[in-house]
Symmetry: C2
Subunit: 134 residues, 2 copies
């Protein structure tokens, strides 16, 4: 195979040991980010537990833990013997449940930004800019 790899990996994982953020969380965050900005799509295969563990020089179970949490949150689907894939986001929530979750996330976020002295308009503006960048 000389041409481009079918499984050419859009994701590049990097661990910051001195950040204080646990490895498994860093992995999750990096996947979330990649999903958020479209670097990976539904069905994309993630590196295998072992290969990523070797890459990052950590224990397979640490990778597995990250994958597990993402599975629980519905971000990925895992199939033994096959691999772990970005999920289809088939939403099995009612509109009301969805709305409640979003409300809760947004409120918490605003409480957070407020504590830094930002007002809601600034936040909205920034979001709009970010939207354009994507």
């Amino acid at each position: 195979m000389v041409a481009a790899e079918k499984t050419a990996n859009e994701l590049e994982f990097l661990l910051d040991q001195s950040s204080g953020v646990p490895y498994y969380r860093q992995i999750i965050k990096q996947v979330e980010m990649a999903v958020a900005d479209g670097r990976v799509r539904s069905g994309s295969k993630l590196p295998t537990v072992r290969s990523l563990a070797v890459d990052l020089q950590i224990n397979p179970n640490t990778v597995a833990r990250a994958y597990n949490e993402m599975e629980i949150r519905g971000i990925v689907n895992t199939q033994q013997g096959t691999g772990t894939f970005i999920s289809d986001k088939k939403i099995e929530l009612t509109e009301e449940e969805r709305s409640d979750i979003l409300r809760s996330l947004v409120r918490s976020f605003i409480a957070n930004t407020s504590s830094y002295g930002f007002v809601i308009d600034e936040v909205i503006e920034h979001l709009k800019v970010l939207k354009e960048e994507m």
Copy 2:
């Protein structure tokens, strides 16, 4: 003093023991929320370390820790012998620093909402609604 208390407290603290969220974080969150939706303003006095500790039936140091973190984040100012007050939000950051912080908060937030399957437009809409409610 028969009339309304000068220090009538707009904040009502409540701890959820079974939430898994540590007490000091719950306290911080509740203050942040109160600031975000205007229930408290600059200069408002928080309950004393001891009184809140008694109220919530926890150790004074746990309350103190919450107050301390908020002090560090600039949410409150503390003066020994006097009390702890919601700070003036005198911002001593450059515009660039402010912008960087907001960018980082927003990105992280969007990564999070995306992982729940929300798209950025939904989020912006929700923020606008929340803004009207305030």
